[in-house]
Amino acid sequence: MSIELLLALITGAALFGVGIYGALSQTNLVMIMMGIELILAGAMVNLVAFWRYLHPDNPAGQMFVLIIMTVMAIEMAVGFGVAIARFRAKGSVEMEEAAELKG
């Protein structure tokens, strides 16, 4: 196995782990979104590494990265929309206070 591929996959794994920690531990909506961004960044690093070191002649690998970037943009747009609505209604984006839907 090439060291370059291993380095890229370990970087992707580390970004995924840091993102999981951030998304679970933060109480602020925007900080939770930052954690999700890091998780998606980890996935992107893996996809680029797989494309480069396993199938460089197949551009479908790069296309998947574009789809992940689209998912990141959608997550940001919808997340900020929800954050603005929440801030207007309650004056805060703290998710510990958002327990209205709790059963």
């Binding site: 840091v18 602020n28 296309m63």
Partner: protein
């Protein structure tokens, strides 16, 4: 050690380090800037892996996205500068455990899976862009168009959610 290996390792380490800084600082603006540096380092890593188009796209897109995020941080936070050192975390031990377990599981997959024969050369930047363009407007056109429609729907939905509701009087 080749130059490519060095730069992948260097930018990978920088990306992970700035990713950790995002959740270590009390200042929300610094968090947004750390995430910007992390994503930029990942873009530089793409460039090191000879994915020129994706590297430049990642850096440009994330620079814009994180600048917007920093503005939202200042708008929403009581203490965006972090001077009060307010702790905004919960279930820390569980989150740390989940992060470490997912990291170890992903590393185990990376190390123990046989990835098969590796490619030593990749197409040059111009050829990559041509191939990607043909892929997007050929075989993957439906997926690409669906992504475009989805992002348009998300923009409309986000605007609709964020618009201040109009209070109507009885006369209206």
């Amino acid at each position: 050690m080749t130059a490519q290996m060095f730069f992948i390792g260097f930018f990978g380490l920088a990306g992970v380090w700035f990713g950790i800084v995002v959740f270590r600082t009390f200042s929300m603006v610094r968090s947004a800037l750390a995430l910007l540096f992390s994503q930029t380092a990942i873009g530089a890593m793409f460039l090191s892996m000879q994915a020129e188009f994706l590297g430049v796209l990642q850096i440009m897109m994330m620079a814009t996205e994180m600048s917007i995020m920093a503005i939202f941080m200042v708008m929403f936070m009581m203490d965006p500068g972090g001077l009060g050192e307010m702790d905004m975390t919960h279930q820390k031990r569980l989150s740390l455990g989940a992060g470490i377990v997912s990291f170890m599981a992903a590393v185990a997959v990376a190390v123990f899976v046989d990835w098969g024969p590796l490619a030593s050369v990749s197409p040059d930047a111009a050829q990559q862009t041509i191939d990607l363009g043909l892929e997007l407007l050929g075989r993957s056109m439906l997926i690409f168009e669906t992504a475009g429609i989805t992002i348009l729907t998300a923009m409309i939905a986000a605007t609709a959610v964020a618009i201040q509701p109009v209070k109507r009087t009885r006369e209206q």
